[in-house]
């Protein structure tokens, strides 16, 4: 039954795409994030159905054959994505573990190709908004589900069941915590500037509930990454909110009220953030990172996907027993092998070498920078009545939201290997699209003004 409903939904989107091919792009975004083929348990899970591939081909074919392509431009950042893709292909050919490397390549190439392609399709304001809406609702599907289950008491590290049983893609605890926090600014932007669902009490109620659910995800999954991400977002939002003091006051009040309600398992685990020596998960991270730095020295071009499998190291972890004066500290020796990177930056360094890491970093930094420039451009613009109209514009709002989402993701990425997640590359795609859109529409406006000014000048 569930399978049929999900299939009917995908079929509806595909059918509507016959009238407006852009909907196929949205279909792919939905399938890539929610992965309906993993939620169901009947026909939809059959590998021969290849939902994701169908949507991908439809989206690309629809654009290639049916779209007007007016105003779409290929930017430098899209070029960088293509170079990164080719570089990954090269390292996959020379990978140390070819089998698992090709397995990872299977989904990474799709994420990269789609990111390079997405901005070409997002050439109108409404399309950009529609893509943001689908990303928010798709991640929201998982977040609302996890939020409700957390309230119902189903949380715990690695214990929260989210729609899908395995830790596939975005469904892994730390990844969904980061992504759920990252969509909060985007959801707020939709509630403020949405034209598909225009701002009214229903939209705001849904947005408030969605944000609450997103904040519950780090609690439910007990992923420390999520808490760090939420803290970063809270600080970043100080930059963009209108009433800073009110916001800071409300945020601290909310935190004080919330802490007593947090489950003990959560507060205990979060307490380990500051004392990482006693924690095996944090100790391994540091050990893997050191190993990766040495590995890169031997393999400057990268070891291909999943190169971490060759690591093995012994380290000491501190265990404190007893209380008060009888406290004793013991050092235990732990040996582990094949530990994952637990950090996107080291994931890149180990798998794609110095060049891959540098390229990836420039790609991310340029995104933050471009959004900052858009914020400047619109932020200083005054309206006809002298009021600050720029900050009220949808472009300023979206640039801010995309920058915040991206920054939150990049901070979360310090602790989790999520360097190639499709969600990240969708954010990048949206940034490229907004950048191109503003450049195109603004230059058109400037030209129009110049023409008008010329016409108004008295003929001599």
């Amino acid at each position: 039954m569930l399978d049929l409903a999900l299939l009917a939904f995908v079929a509806l989107l595909l059918m509507l795409g016959l009238k407006r091919p852009f909907l196929w792009v949205l279909t792919y975004i939905y399938i890539d994030i929610v992965m309906p083929q993993k939620i169901g348990w009947g026909i939809i899970t059959s590998p021969s159905l290849k939902l994701s591939l169908v949507a991908f081909v439809a989206a690309f074919g629809g654009w290639l054959l049916l779209d007007a392509k007016r105003g779409g431009r290929f930017t430098a950042r899209q070029g960088m994505i293509v170079v990164l893709l080719l570089w990954c292909l090269m390292t996959t050919f020379s990978a140390e573990f070819p089998d698992t490397a090709w397995e990872k390549w299977d989904w990474v190439w799709k994420a990269l190709v789609f990111a390079a392609f997405l901005p070409l399709t997002l050439r109108t304001r409404l399309r950009i908004e529609a893509a943001v809406l689908f990303i928010v609702l798709a991640v929201g599907t998982i977040a609302i589900n996890g939020g409700l289950k957390t309230v119902g008491g189903g949380g715990g590290y690695g214990a929260l069941k989210l729609l899908v049983d395995d830790n596939a893609g975005i469904y892994e605890g730390s990844i969904i915590s980061t992504a759920a926090i990252a969509i909060i600014p985007l959801a707020l932007w939709l509630a403020r500037h949405g034209t598909i669902f225009k701002p009214d009490w229903r939209v705001w109620t849904f947005t408030a509930a969605l944000i609450f659910a997103c904040l519950l995800i780090p609690v439910g999954t007990s992923a420390r990454t999520g808490l760090v991400a939420a803290a970063v977002l809270a600080v970043l939002m100080l930059r963009s909110v209108k009433h800073r003091f009110l916001y800071a006051g409300l945020a601290s009040l909310l935190m004080m009220v919330a802490v007593p309600f947090l489950p003990a398992s959560f507060t205990e685990r979060m307490g380990t953030i500051s004392q990482h020596e006693g924690d095996q998960s944090a100790s391994t991270r540091v050990a893997v990172w050191k190993w990766t730095i040495d590995y890169a020295k031997d393999h400057p071009l990268g070891g291909g996907f999943d190169a971490y499998r060759s690591n093995s190291f012994t380290y000491q972890t501190r265990v404190v027993t007893g209380e008060g004066n009888s406290t004793s500290v013991e050092y235990q020796t732990v040996t582990e092998s094949g530990r994952a990177y637990h950090s996107s930056y080291f994931e890149l360094l180990g798998e794609q070498g110095y060049f891959g890491l540098a390229l990836w970093l420039v790609l991310q930094a340029l995104g933050l920078w471009h959004m900052e420039r858009l914020r400047w451009r619109f932020g200083k613009r005054a309206g006809p009545d002298g009021a600050n109209a720029g900050r009220a514009s949808w472009q300023w709002g979206l640039a801010t939201a995309l920058q915040q989402a991206h920054a939150v993701y990049l901070v979360g990425a310090v602790f989790v290997g999520i360097a190639y997640q499709p969600f990240l590359f969708m954010l990048i795609g949206l940034q490229c699209a907004l950048w191109t859109y503003v450049k195109r529409t603004e230059s058109k406006q400037t030209k129009a003004w110049a023409r008008r000014a010329e016409a108004l000048q008295p003929a001599e």
């Binding site: 989107l13 509507l16 949205l26 109108t124 304001r125 409404l126 798709a138 598909i196 669902f197």
Partner: protein, 51 residues
């Protein structure tokens, strides 16, 4: 139960958004009227350019 509720809620919203998008003129062209009504409705309520 929670699963069904969540899926119904967000998928319902996505389906509704898709239906709205199909009728919006400015999806493919920024300069088109955003509230371009579907053709059948336009014929009844609004005078078209040809009138």
């Amino acid at each position: 139960m929670i699963d069904i509720f969540t899926l119904a809620l967000t998928h319902g919203l996505m389906a509704l958004a898709a239906l709205i998008l199909v009728t919006r003129g400015d999806l493919d062209d920024d300069e088109a009227a955003p509230d371009a009504a579907p053709r059948w409705k336009r014929r009844v309520d609004q005078p078209t350019d040809e009138d």
